[in-house]
């Protein structure tokens, strides 16, 4: 598999007008630099249930700050459920409950008295399907997190936050002339970057991404992946993906989830640096999965 730079060279070399010209991209390769220190997340003995069904069993992991951690594994192994549990989104399903602890900046987000609304404002989320709010303009979509929380913000300050977020999501140049148009008028890849801008506008410390590129074409996927490597400078990123090339390209750490057989709970098999998981994993199941010999 070509490395990221080789991959770009191949695609860039298509012609004078490469399809990559259509998207905004970082001018230089992302360097490992931290502009804002993000949070570490410590997960201890986490079990998640849907009613009587035990969906995820006994997860222990430390998600490092200012890095991208990929969660891989076959469908139904509980990685999306686990991701949603990190910002208590699983509670929107009436029967779901979680046991164990998730500690972020010294606070257990499952402790009694913790407001899930506050947790979610610090741990943002981007979903598989791009879903801008259809009644709002591009501008209002980005400002939604701040406006809907009714924080009193001056117009000039809000303008600044919207521009910074859109630049952060590499969307500014594409939409700066149509900030008042509906977010639904954008293409699928642009909509997803708009959703990322919307998520980072509320300044979370952690960004959860549930297969953010699986509904997008390869060019838009590349744009999202490059964006992830930039966003690491400001956020801790956890990304669920079915695309193993994407995990190798975009993540620093990889956790492999597996399920023994259907009806059994999903478990985390191992977590390590991404290179190690894909070249020399500790467990046979991981080796089978990443090499395509699975099942």
């Amino acid at each position: 598999m070509p490395s990221e730079t080789e991959f770009e060279k191949v695609v860039d070399g298509v012609g004078e007008h490469s399809p990559l010209d259509l998207i905004e991209r970082p001018t230089k390769p992302a360097e490992r630099q931290v502009t804002e220190v993000a949070s570490t997340i410590e997960v201890t003995n986490l079990d998640i249930y849907y009613g009587a069904f035990h969906a995820v069993a006994d997860v222990n992991m430390t998600i490092p700050p200012n890095a991208a951690t990929a969660l891989i594994g076959s469908s139904g192994c509980g990685k999306s459920t686990f991701l949603r549990a990190i910002n208590r989104m699983h509670e929107l399903t009436a029967t779901a409950r979680a046991e164990g602890s998730i500690v972020m900046d010294g606070q257990d987000i499952y402790a009694p008295g913790v407001d899930p609304v506050e947790v979610r404002s610090k741990i943002g989320m981007v979903f598989q399907q791009p879903n801008p709010f259809p009644t709002m303009s591009v501008y209002d979509n980005v400002a939604a997190g701040l406006k809907l929380n009714n924080r009193k913000i001056k117009k000039a300050e809000l303008d600044e936050i919207v521009e910074k977020s859109l630049r952060g999501a590499h969307l500014w140049n594409e939409v700066k002339d149509r900030l008042n148009r509906s977010g639904m008028d954008l293409s699928g890849g642009q909509q997803q970057r708009l959703c990322i801008a919307r998520a980072i506008a509320v300044e979370p410390a952690v960004l959860l991404m549930d297969e953010p590129a699986s509904a997008l074409d390869p060019i838009s996927t590349l744009a999202i992946e490059e964006l992830i490597s930039e966003l690491k400078h400001r956020f801790t990123i956890v990304i669920v993906t079915h695309n193993m090339q994407q995990a190798t390209r975009a993540s620093d750490y990889t956790a492999f989830f597996n399920i023994e057989q259907s009806g059994q709970p999903g478990r985390m098999v191992e977590m390590d640096r991404t290179e190690k998981i894909f070249s020399n994993p500790t467990h046979q199941a991981t080796e089978d999965y990443v090499s395509g010999r699975f099942g």
Partner: protein, 355 residues
């Protein structure tokens, strides 16, 4: 062209088959309609019997003709098409007839005099329905003000908060029961309710509004609930993921997204009750003068006005009948105008249709 590539040879057989001429359906149906007019004009046969027989004969004709030329599947298709066309005409005929009758009889009296005069001190010719128009607008407006918040809030509870609880099931059941309440029962409910406080024989505009709101609430609840159901869950989730509290997610994201559909539901509810006669008769009564105050005294409404002009005409009766038809036409025009406004609102906020 060689024999091997000639159409109809080889494994595929032929794709094209014999077909009736393009005009076959139109000619058979046109012939049936023409025969119907001729039969009704020149013979003594009962028109209803004639129409039924001609419809059956023409459908059988196209079925047998297509069956012999085109085969069984096409024949079934043509038979079904023709049957459905007749069913459509059968459904539309009363509507056209009603609209024609009301317009032709009503437009004679529907003029400026009619909409800016009341029936105060009017005997015989002249007079108008100004008091009835205002009564209808005020009574229905107050009913809408009562029913829309109650209905929308109920629907929000049922869909966003109710979960699978017993209260939700109970409310859903009673809303279904309310849908089936006869309008006169709603009127008697309002009458009995106000008789408790003001004694029997009280007549107020607001009593009629309460009776009408009882009829409107279940329609608003049902339609709003349906609209909330088609708001994609992803929108709620992404709003929650921004750290937005639930009530703000509902008021700022869910309701605006569903607004166009909710407006349609409210319009349906208004159209359902604006022509009600019986509940207004027992609660609001009838009066010849203009009364703007729904909290004091009787009011007139278009439906009740129409009813009394027709039931108790003067001598000679013609001016009363003319006023009745004009009032009915006015009611239809008010509903059409409201529907037009609702369409504009939908076009302005119509996000769900675009998806």
């Amino acid at each position: 062209m060689t024999a091997a590539t000639a159409p109809g040879s080889g494994r595929t057989g032929t794709f094209s088959q014999a077909a009736l001429p393009d005009w076959a359906m139109q000619v058979v149906m046109g012939g049936a309609v023409a025969l119907a007019f001729i039969g009704i004009a020149f013979t003594d046969v009962s028109p209803a019997l004639l129409v039924i027989v001609l419809a059956a004969v023409s459908a059988a004709t196209i079925g047998i003709w297509a069956g012999t030329v085109e085969g069984r599947r096409k024949a079934t298709d043509r038979l079904a098409t023709m049957t459905m066309t007749y069913a459509f005409l059968l459904a539309v005929a009363p509507l056209v007839s009603l609209a024609w009758t009301v317009v032709s009889k009503g437009n004679g009296r529907l003029d400026l005099d009619f909409i800016n005069h009341t029936m105060r001190n009017v005997i015989g010719e002249g007079g108008g329905a100004m008091h009835a128009i205002w009564g209808t607008v005020i009574i229905t407006g107050v009913a809408t003000i009562i029913a829309v918040p109650v209905g929308i809030l109920t629907a929000i509870y049922l869909h966003e908060y109710g979960g699978t609880g017993r209260l939700k099931k109970a409310i859903t059941f009673f809303v279904d029961v309310m849908t089936g309440i006869p309008s006169i029962v709603a009127g008697l409910f309002a009458f009995a309710l106000f008789a408790l406080f003001f004694g029997p024989g009280v007549r107020l505009g607001v009593m009629g509004s309460i009776a009408l709101s009882v009829l409107m609430i279940p329609i608003v609840v049902r339609s709003t609930e349906e609209m909330l159901r088609i708001v994609p869950n992803g929108l709620r989730e992404s709003a929650f993921a921004l750290g937005v509290p639930k009530w703000r997610v509902i008021t700022k994201v869910v309701l605006p997204t569903a607004l166009a559909g909710i407006v349609t539901g409210v319009m349906l509810a208004i159209a359902r009750v604006i022509g009600e006669t019986a509940p207004l008769l027992v609660t609001v009564g009838t009066i010849d003068s203009l009364n703007f105050n729904p909290f004091e005294g009787r009011m007139q409404s278009l439906a009740v006005f129409t009813y009394f002009e027709y039931k108790t005409p003067g001598v000679p009766p013609e001016p009363s009948f003319d006023r009745a038809w004009a009032a009915a036409l006015t009611l239809i025009i008010i509903v059409l105008v409201l529907t037009g406004i609702a369409k504009l609102v939908q076009r302005r906020f119509g996000v769900l249709q675009a998806r």
